[in-house]
């Protein structure tokens, strides 16, 4: 596991209030003072309002980009269940997301069922595909599993997504929105709502025995087994959960542009999915959600900055630079901040979750980052 010391941003004193929180005399646990509580609630409500205002604030042409940001955040959370919690690296997440997208399109267009059925179907198919890969993961770990996921994504891209009767071939498969979501702004709010559901689910997942068991697998499967964790069952469960989330994201993705085709899910996109999870900070839900949103809006941000800011570097950087910048972000994250955005925001995130601003050591300070089992196949 890549635990490194948390780096302190220079602005340690920006919110000095947290330090005034009391230490409980009995067990030394941090207790938030009433003023601290008020400040945290105020900031949280402010952030929530800010996020909720985004679909209304942005110009209409970019509303779908906002939806895309929420969808990428869900995809990053789906990746996070495998990469962050279980320590299984998936280089082929487009397979899950793509299957979900086409399943939703097929259900609505070919079977004539409503949008809700499309989402349910995509969650189901995502789970089934992920379960299949999960069985492979029971036998393989680390690098070998990563290779299988790439090969599988390529297979999905070239074979599965080109079966004309299921995916419409090169023309693509329409995935219409229901009448009440035709409006782009409404659709963006719907995507936000789904993201909120996924975040709440993720929170419950990590807070329960199930989540602890899954995360125990990441650190050491044998130790986990010795504590009575049924390794095979929980690993499969992690894959299924990841597949369900990816499938749902796929359904939302398909209905954003209301058509989906194989070109949307080339395996390069898989590498983007992995990058955003790592840059966000594998293992931390708020980090990976931000990572997903960042990668979704990065091209648009660069283009807008290029058009509106007439200063260096924006005069010569435009959307064409996005892949290079994204790749650079990935490499720099791995070298300097293995815990990604979450590591950089460690103080803020701790403070916002009703903890102290400054760390006082202990388990909270561990930065998960990306891990991975040892090389090799287990017999």
């Amino acid at each position: 596991m890549t635990a490194t010391a948390t780096r302190r941003p220079s602005g340690d004193d920006v919110v000095a209030e947290g330090r005034r929180g009391n230490r409980n005399a009995d067990d030394g646990r941090f207790v938030v003072s009433p003023q601290g509580m008020a400040a945290r609630v105020a900031v949280l409500v402010g952030l929530l309002l800010l996020v909720l205002a985004i679909p209304v604030i942005v110009p209409d042409v970019y509303t779908n980009v906002v939806s895309r940001a929420a969808i990428y955040a869900i995809i990053a959370l789906s990746m996070n269940v495998l990469v962050g919690y279980t320590g299984q690296v998936s280089l082929g997440h487009t397979a899950f997301v793509g299957v979900g997208a086409f399943a939703s399109g097929y259900t609505m267009t070919e079977l004539g069922l409503p949008f809700g059925a499309g989402i349910a179907m995509s969650a189901f198919t995502g789970a089934v595909i992920a379960l299949g890969l999960g069985f492979v993961a029971l036998r393989l770990a680390g690098l070998y599993l990563a290779l299988v996921t790439i090969a599988f994504a390529l297979f999905a891209q070239e074979t599965l997504f080109n079966i004309r009767s299921l995916t419409g071939g090169g023309a693509g498969m329409p995935a219409d929105r229901p009448a009440f979501l035709i409006d782009d702004t409404r659709y963006a709010y719907f995507c936000f709502f789904m993201l909120a559901l996924v975040l709440a689910f993720d929170w419950r997942l990590t807070a329960t025995r199930l989540g602890r068991a899954i995360r125990a697998l990441r650190d050491d499967e044998r130790v986990a087994a010795s504590w009575g964790v049924d390794v095979a069952r929980f690993k499969l469960l992690a894959f299924v959960i990841s597949g369900i989330l990816a499938g749902i994201a796929g359904a939302l993705f398909a209905s954003t542009e209301q058509i989906v085709s194989a070109q949307d899910f080339t395996f390069g996109v898989s590498l983007t999915f992995l990058s955003m999870t790592v840059v966000g900070g594998a293992g931390n839900r708020w980090g990976v959600a931000q990572g997903g949103a960042l990668f979704a809006v990065l091209p648009t941000l660069l283009e807008r900055a290029h058009e509106n800011f007439h200063v260096i570097p924006f005069t010569w950087i435009n959307a064409r630079f996005e892949p290079a910048i994204a790749a650079l972000l990935l490499v720099l994250t791995l070298i300097f901040y293995p815990g990604g955005i979450a590591q950089q925001q460690a103080h803020l995130l701790r403070w916002l979750s009703f903890g102290p601003w400054k760390s006082h050591g202990g388990d909270d300070d561990k930065v998960a980052g990306i891990t991975g089992g040892s090389v090799g196949a287990r017999p």
Partner: protein, 303 residues
Amino acid sequence: MGFVLRILVFGLQAGAIYALVALGIALVYKATGILNFAQGELGTIAAFSAFFVLAGGLDAEASDSKLRLILATLVAVVVGAAFGVLVNTLVVRHVAGASPVTSLVATVGVALFLTAAQTLLFETRARNFPRYIDGGFRLPLANVNVPWHTIVILVVLAGVAASLAVFFRTPYGIALLATAEEPFAAELQGVPVALMRTIAWGGAGALGALGGLLGAGFFENLQPGLMTTTFLIPAFVGAVLGGIGSLVGSAVGGLIVGASVALANQLVRTFEVDVPGPPQIAVLVVLLGVLLFKPNGLLGDRV
């Protein structure tokens, strides 16, 4: 008979390039325990430098002069080796808390960056790329044309495999093996571990360059990301199939993957079934088959 020969011919054409890339992957893996996802792009970058020499610029057409191609080859090999060393020096060595998987993801980042940089510099359009020997000959019985280029690739592959085999008998080669086996003990024995790793990455870069040149010649054109999208994954599978620590195994594995892909293509064509993407199916089946039934690979003695 004709069917088998055709599969062999088509299989060797692509398979020999898979094998070259797989050799580079195996070399780095042997020395450092890292799966290098950037092995393909090291080749594409090198091939672009060769194109620059051939065309005297990025927008001109590549010259047909074979003498110039030889010069371009030398430049490309040096550039490939330099990039291999750079990837190790700038990125891989510094990856914080590196598990093998983290290092793999770091090389994914390098591959993405190299592809993105190529796209920025050279745009996405394809450029003509020459072969060392044009034309081909007709193989009797099989009724197929064998390009001389295939023979060139096979000769290069054999030469590279032989020189690597010789290299690993020399004290330097043995030091490299020791570095991989037990870096700390090697250090105690006076092996300059960091230098040995640099050599392995440089060698992998040079191998990548050969792969890139021959791969671009295979398609007779060159575009950003070429080696990653077409040859990298089958090469990985070839390396695993042969036993990833084994150089000979990687070469053989690459050839077998090539033959499997050709077989899948021929089967689909012969029986006229409408299955999209037979190469990808073959690659996935071979990978799953070898990992589930013979995880050490054909010639690998350890995982």
